[in-house]
């Protein structure tokens, strides 16, 4: 049914270079969250810290009462059984074919017979649309297929938390939208907690229940999708709407002169908030909220044209 991840005051640096500081957020059980941020802001580092592959300098990550940041190696191995992880390029084991790759966690961690394993592996491969490629080696297939194989391997142990590292990077827009649909369908089906890390704005605008924005070594904002998409906060507004006007420059922050020059420029209006991607079965996900619900509850008027079916997904710059 998914479990909650409570992150408190997390700080991580490598040697002298600070990656991010004071990140606090709660990833609610069973919901889809997107962590958005420009390349190199430490999104992958954040994911790896959540699974205990990297130790944070300070702070805690509590899952089912265990603090990942300070627990013993043994507890860490236990907790990791709750996770399914899709690494950036799938991280398939190069020496095994796809079938053996996906069967690997089952062979390592369960006492299932080969025929039971076969059943589960084929079911998961079917789920991600990879039936018929069992005998292929990871090096022989496209990046998109590797990612889907990575998802299948991450799912075989029925995880409570699924982490995706840039599921949409390196894919064409059509494949990206298929993959996003797959993610939403999976969430509807297994009800696990999903955290997607990406720099793709369209994914962030349409897929999740909650969005976080990692920018300039800190968590700029984290909250419900509609809250961030209707936010007037300059960084959030600029990034989520892919605008040039705002505090973010080509390389990190703009300097004072540039900001001064922009002062009188009118901010382009907020684009309409798109509908959230629905499961293809048509049955709403458990954690799905009614379109416009958050805006109404919080007395925020969404930008004109929001929540209209079939509206254009592209944002005007």
């Amino acid at each position: 049914m998914g479990v909650e991840i409570k992150v408190d005051n997390l700080t991580k640096s490598f040697g002298k270079s600070l990656i991010w500081a004071d990140v606090s957020l709660t990833i609610p059980a069973g919901e889809i969250c997107v962590m958005l941020g420009p390349s190199g802001t430490g999104k992958s580092v954040f994911l790896k810290t959540l699974i205990g592959l990297l130790k944070p300098d300070t702070g805690s990550i509590v899952i089912e009462g265990t603090d990942i940041a300070s627990c013993s190696e043994k507890d860490l191995y236990e907790i990791r059984k709750l996770f399914g992880v899709l690494f950036q390029d799938g991280a398939m084991f190069g020496s095994m074919n796809l079938y053996d790759n996906i069967a690997f966690p089952l062979r390592e961690h369960t006492k299932k017979s080969e025929s039971q394993i076969r059943e589960i592996v084929l079911e998961k491969m079917d789920l991600v649309g990879l039936l018929g490629t069992e005998d292929k080696l990871p090096g022989e297939i496209s990046g998109g297929m590797r990612k889907r194989a990575g998802i299948a391997r991450g799912l075989v142990l029925d995880p409570e938390i699924v982490l995706f590292d840039e599921p949409d990077s390196g894919l064409d827009p059509v494949r990206t939208s298929f993959l996003n649909q797959l993610i939403v369908d999976l969430n509807a089906q297994i009800d696990a907690t999903f955290l997607i890390v990406t720099h793709d704005i369209n994914t962030a605008r349409t897929v999740p229940d909650n969005i976080g924005l990692l920018y300039h070594k800190h968590l700029a904002m984290f909250g419900p999708r509609e809250m961030l998409l209707s936010s007037e906060e300059p960084v959030v507004r600029q990034f989520l709407n892919a605008q040039r006007v705002g505090p973010i420059g080509m390389s990190e922050e703009k300097d004072a002169d540039e900001l001064e020059a922009e002062k009188d420029q009118d901010l382009p209006p907020l684009p309409p908030i798109p509908m959230q991607l629905e499961p293809s079965s048509g049955i709403p996900r458990r954690s799905q909220r009614e379109p416009g619900g958050w805006c109404r509850d919080n007395g925020v008027t969404p930008p004109p044209g929001s929540f209209e079916a079939n509206m254009s997904m592209t944002t005007k710059v």
């Binding site: 992880v85 084991f93 190069g94 961690h109």
Partner: protein, 253 residues
């Protein structure tokens, strides 16, 4: 300034981790056999090719020197000592590091940057136990046998050169074997080879598993692992030789 010290420390800590994982079951027999086969296949031919000139050069040098002393009757023995105690283990280790170690570092390095190692750890599998231990043991075993190969080929090469080029008498060359050489010389050669194999594999695995920053990082890791291994080998060889000469008095002195 203190970086090399830190690296040495983490390298040693890595060695201890490997030592601990050595006793964890199940032992990865398949990986061990595959790796042994692989390391042997990339090192045997170059080793044999290097061993012949090695033996020949030593025979020529030692032979010439000994002639000046008028101690030709010791030629065979001196060459054998030089090959078995020094040249054999060093040639073995250079090839294990240069051919085997670089392949290990490249393999583990590319797994590291493809995040395969992270994926393994998330699946609750310790890459040290699964990947490093079999490689280290394989390198040690192959070093043991390669050392035998180098000794035989080197001594053979020395014999041929001494007899053909330096007009040595075949009988005298063989008969002098036992004049200076003794059985412990053979053992120390083997022990050295095994230790050098261990060092080469540990450094290669350590560098590979800590590769970073894309394909270039893997190249750097391979490069560094070979250089570091070579440096360590000469230091360790010096230390081992000194200890050995203290413990086992040379024969016929």
């Amino acid at each position: 300034m203190l970086k090399p010290v830190g690296t040495a420390g983490t390298l040693f800590a890595f060695f201890l981790d490997v030592l601990r994982a050595l006793f964890r079951r199940p032992f990865q027999l398949r990986e061990f056999i595959q790796q042994s086969w692989f390391i042997a296949s990339v090192t045997i031919i170059p080793t044999a090719l290097v061993a012949i000139p090695f033996g020949a050069v030593i025979a020529l040098q030692v032979g010439g020197l000994i002639k000046q002393f008028g101690a030709q009757s010791f030629t065979g023995s001196a060459s054998v000592l030089a090959v078995i105690q020094q040249a054999g283990p060093i040639a073995t280790a250079l090839l294990i590091a240069g051919a085997g170690g670089s392949a290990i570092a490249a393999d583990l390095g590319s797994r590291k940057i493809r995040e395969e190692l992270d994926a393994m750890m998330v699946l609750g599998i310790d890459p040290i136990q699964r990947l490093v231990v079999p490689r280290v043991l394989a390198a040690m075993m192959v070093a043991f046998f390669l050392n035998g190969l180098v000794s035989v080929v080197g001594v053979g090469g020395g014999y041929v050169f001494n007899v053909i080029l330096q007009d040595g008498t075949p009988g005298a060359y063989l008969a002098s074997f036992t004049a200076l050489a003794q059985l412990p010389d053979l053992y120390v050669g083997l022990v050295k080879a095994v230790i050098f194999g261990l060092i080469a594999a540990i450094v290669a695995c350590y560098k590979g598993m800590n590769a970073g920053g894309g394909p270039k990082g893997v190249g750097d890791a391979v490069n560094e692992s070979v250089v570091i291994t070579f440096l360590l080998l000469f230091v360790v060889n010096f230390v081992l030789s000194t200890i050995y000469l203290q413990l086992v008095p040379p024969k016929g002195g």
